[in-house]
């Protein structure tokens, strides 16, 4: 990164004149006592007057005196560049350490600090560090510190605190001396008066003086005889008058335009080279930036890294934007999957834009697997729900829920003894809610809910299970008392509960008794259940029993005799389910005896049977449940529920005595 010292630039080859004597002396002193004499030493002069020469001469001299010294020469641009490179590579501290360990630091072209605030701060820090550790810093610039535009005051004072020396344009004698020494170095000799002629032109700097000398040397090389003063004037294109007259009137720019012109193109070429170098490498910067960004977000960037391996990839930006597009697609897939199955969303396949097909396949798989939660059973339509005074409050609450799901009564808890039609009402509400647009109604028995969770835990896809219910717009659970002792299910339900309430999604539960009387239910669940509407279905009143019986008998295609209807209605039956059982038994008995269903037959069937002994023990074993397990297909599978399917006569006897 730093330039090496040019061996030609030493004190021995430096021509000292009045204009630069102070600077050279200071330089020598510094070289002999680095860090102790003038620190920092700031040298300024116009271009081509020997700043670089002097800087390197100091370096050489210091090295000759103490060879163990660590000496670095570099231009400010090189310093800036290596600083930027170090920062980019995350090696800023190493960079600082490296320069703080330099014994003699020689920095050229410091004028380029203009408008570089961060470099000024950096240089200030470095200067202070070097001074504190007794290391020497020598700076060169084409103008004094105070004239460097926009230079930090602290730097100005810091620089001025050492020694600031300038080097002027060499006087005539010095110019002659320089020309003689250079001609000697080149092994060329000129006729007397020639070099003096050249020296008479007041070149603004030594570099141009060298240019003039070079032209003379070239001209003499092709001439048959050594050139004289007059020929020299001609070669250099100066009228004789001008050589004699002082050319101070000529502006420096005009002078440089004639003398520096051969270099203009190469200077231009150098500048363009630097700019092009930066430009064509810019694509690398863009690719690297993309790699960093997406790697940071957790995406695989192999595809982009491959670009960097190539010398000159085509359409870099197209490649980057294609990559970004793929990443966006992955994000979309991941978001979609996260709703269905949060666990699957975390899979690596959604972070690898190089295998889009795999990600698509994985998402499709999740999509297929995301079956809707169990739906309400079609066997319990609202139309077939018989209303009466005993259930009218519950029914009207249900209708309110159907009209405004999530808004009116949330949650709705339907309480009542077994067989009063809670399950029917629950499913009826579910069916009605499912008719709404975009509705996903989850309606199942609590037992089914628990079983599903156990299966999910077993299959290690609880997230998927959870997500399935989170998608639902309504959750209806039958027989909530079955949560008793199921801690994990209660926890899951609690979470779901909160989400549903927050999103105004309807919750409906059934329970055999008021929630706060149910044992084994966590307080937080109970309080939430109580927070909505708890409505009770009472034992069917006479009117309701009559309506239900009419319907049952019609279903069984039994001609409705008023005597039969009156007899059955007056029976002490406390639930719709028992009513159904009674009708079933009577109809079956009639079919067995091949007789029509009459009030008399019914009386024989219902009152002539003996009572079983063990009935009481069974009834007190706990809350009876409706026991319906509604499959996702919507069928009713419970044998217990379907009393007409019961094969054993003993069971029928139990029903009779209920």
């Amino acid at each position: 990164m730093t330039s090496s010292l040019n061996p030609r630039f030493s004190f021995e080859t430096f021509v000292v004149g009045a204009a630069n004597r102070l600077a050279v002396t200071a330089g020598r002193t510094v070289a002999e006592n680095p860090g102790s004499a003038y620190n920092p030493l700031f040298i300024y002069s116009g271009s081509g007057l020997g700043k670089t020469h002097l800087l390197m001469a100091i370096g050489h001299a210091a090295k000759t005196i103490a060879s163990q010294l660590n000496i670095e020469y570099l231009t400010l641009d090189e310093y800036v560049e290596s600083f930027h490179a170090a920062i980019a590579a995350g090696q800023g501290d190493n960079f600082r350490r490296r320069f703080q360990n330099v014994d003699v630091l020689l920095v050229d072209d410091v004028q380029f600090l203009t408008n570089r605030k961060e470099m000024q701060a950096e240089l200030l820090r470095l200067t202070e560090a070097l001074q504190q550790s007794g290391h020497q810093i020598v700076l060169a610039s084409d103008r004094p510190p105070a004239e460097i535009a926009d230079l930090d005051e602290r730097l100005i004072s810091r620089f001025s605190g050492g020694l600031v020396v300038d080097m002027g344009i060499p006087d005539y004698e010095t110019r002659v001396a320089i020309l003689r020494r250079k001609a000697e170095e080149r092994g060329t000799s000129f006729q007397p008066g020639v070099l003096e002629t050249v020296a008479k032109i007041e070149h603004p700097n030594v570099r141009e003086l060298m240019g003039a000398l070079n032209r003379l040397i070239a001209f003499q090389a092709v001439s048959e005889s050594p050139i004289n003063a007059e020929a020299a004037s001609k070669v250099l294109g100066i009228p004789r008058a001008a050589t004699a007259a002082s050319s101070t009137a000529a502006s420096p720019t005009a002078a440089s335009s004639t003398a520096a012109s051969p270099d203009e193109f190469s200077q231009f070429l150098t500048d363009v080279t630097v700019t092009v170098g930066k430009a064509v490498e810019a694509w690398r910067a863009r690719v690297a930036e993309a790699v960093l960004r997406w790697e940071g977000e957790g995406y695989r960037t192999g595809r982009l890294e491959k670009l960097l391996d190539q010398e000159t990839p085509t359409a870099v930006d197209d490649a980057i934007s294609a990559y970004v597009q793929d990443v966006e697609r992955l994000k979309a897939l991941e978001a979609e999957v996260a709703v269905l199955d949060p666990q699957a969303a975390g899979e690596k396949v959604f972070r690898d834009p190089d295998h889009m097909d795999e990600a698509e396949a994985a998402a499709a798989k999740v999509r297929d697997g995301a079956a809707p939660p169990p739906a309400p059973s079609a066997a319990f339509p609202l139309e077939s729900y018989v209303a009466g005074p005993s259930n009218e409050v519950a029914l009207s609450a249900a209708r309110a829920v159907i009209a405004k799901p999530g808004k009116k009564y949330n949650p709705l808890v339907i309480v009542g003894r077994s067989g009063l039609g809670k399950t029917h009402l629950l499913n009826a509400v579910g069916l009605e809610l499912a008719k709404k647009k975009n509705a996903v109604v989850a309606c199942l028995s609590t037992q089914g809910f628990v079983d599903e969770l156990i299966a999910a835990i077993d299959g290690n896809h609880v997230d998927w299970w959870r997500a399935r219910y989170r998608r639902a717009t309504a959750l209806l659970l039958d027989d909530i008392q079955l949560l008793t002792g199921k801690e994990r299910t209660q926890e899951e339900l609690f979470n779901l509960f909160n989400q549903f309430l927050d999103a105004d999604r309807q919750l409906v539960f059934t329970a055999p008794a008021h929630p706060n009387t149910l044992e084994g239910l966590e307080e937080r669940i109970v309080s939430r259940l109580e927070g909505g509407l708890v409505t009770e279905i009472a034992e069917p009143d006479k009117e309701l029993r009559r309506s239900v019986l009419e319907r049952l008998l019609t279903q069984q295609r039994v001609p409705i005799e008023p005597a039969l209807l009156d007899y059955l209605t007056d029976r002490p039956i406390d639930s719709v389910r028992s009513l159904t059982g009674v009708v079933q038994r009577v109809v079956e008995a009639a079919a067995a005896q091949d007789e029509p269903v009459t009030a008399g037959l019914a009386r024989d069937v219902l009152e002539g049977a003996p009572a079983p002994a063990a009935r009481g023990a069974r009834r007190t074993a706990g809350f009876r449940t409706s026991g319906i397990v509604v499959s996702s297909a919507g069928g009713v599978r419970s044998r217990e529920k379907m009393v007409w399917d019961w094969p054993a006569a003993a069971d029928r006897v139990i029903e009779d005595l209920r």
């Binding site: 720019t253 005009a254 335009s257 004639t258 012109s261 051969p262 203009e264 193109f265 200077q267 231009f268 070429l269 500048d271 363009v272 080279t273 700019t275 092009v276 170098g277 930066k278 430009a279 064509v280 490498e281 810019a282 694509w283 010398e311 000159t312 990839p313 085509t314 359409a315 870099v316 930006d317 197209d318």
Partner: protein, 200 residues
């Protein structure tokens, strides 16, 4: 036109010198031509009238050789400054990567400068190019004329350079400011290249 061709590893910059008649566009090119080593420059094509007015356009290709592995070429064009050659100007502007506006520093030429600037803007628009997106530098030529005849750099900046693009005082005849201008526009063009997407 494609500025950077990664496939053939070429960089080509088309730079057009624009400005009113007699502002010194061709002089700029001549000066550059004189400074470029013979091996680097192509034949300078100049179609001029007997009174040295550019009739069609000047064209100077410069080969900068291999830079960062890219064969780099600059193509310098001038447009005919006179008002009635607008069709040619538009043609030359086509596919330009950068424009040097060579203004005449003489106070009495200020209107011509402004008119030419407006003409540049409308001709670029004809090519669907917004002048604000086109790399542009200003050169105030003829600064060597007596001070009472010319406007200063600041005055010219005030009247012409309302976009605040880089501007250079120049004396193209003697070469002052010529390469500075060329360097200025090259940097802008190449920087735009760095910011934009490399074409295929």
């Amino acid at each position: 036109m494609s500025l950077v061709n990664f496939t053939t590893r070429e960089i080509t910059c088309k730079i057009v010198y624009y400005g009113p008649g007699r502002s010194g566009k061709t002089t700029n090119l001549h000066y550059v031509y004189g400074r470029v080593p013979e091996t680097r420059r192509g034949r300078m094509v100049s179609l001029a009238t007997q009174t040295d007015r550019t009739l069609f356009f000047d064209f100077l290709p410069i080969d900068l050789g291999q830079i960062s592995g890219f064969s780099t070429r600059f193509q310098l064009y001038t447009v005919p400054g006179q008002v009635y050659y607008n069709a040619t100007r538009r043609l030359v502007l086509q596919g330009a990567d950068g424009v040097v506006f060579v203004g005449d520093s003489q106070a009495r030429q200020l209107d011509e400068n402004i008119e030419s600037l407006q003409n540049l803007q409308s001709n670029l628009l004809e090519h669907g190019v917004d002048v604000r997106t086109m790399p542009l530098v200003m050169q105030y030529n003829k600064q060597d004329l007596p001070a009472e005849l010319i406007l200063t750099h600041d005055e010219l900046d005030d009247s012409l350079n309302f976009r605040g693009v880089p501007s250079f005082p120049a004396d193209a005849l003697h070469g002052r400011g010529v390469f500075e201008t060329l360097k200025g526009i090259s940097e802008l063009v190449l920087k735009k290249l760095a910011a934009g997407s490399p074409a295929v």
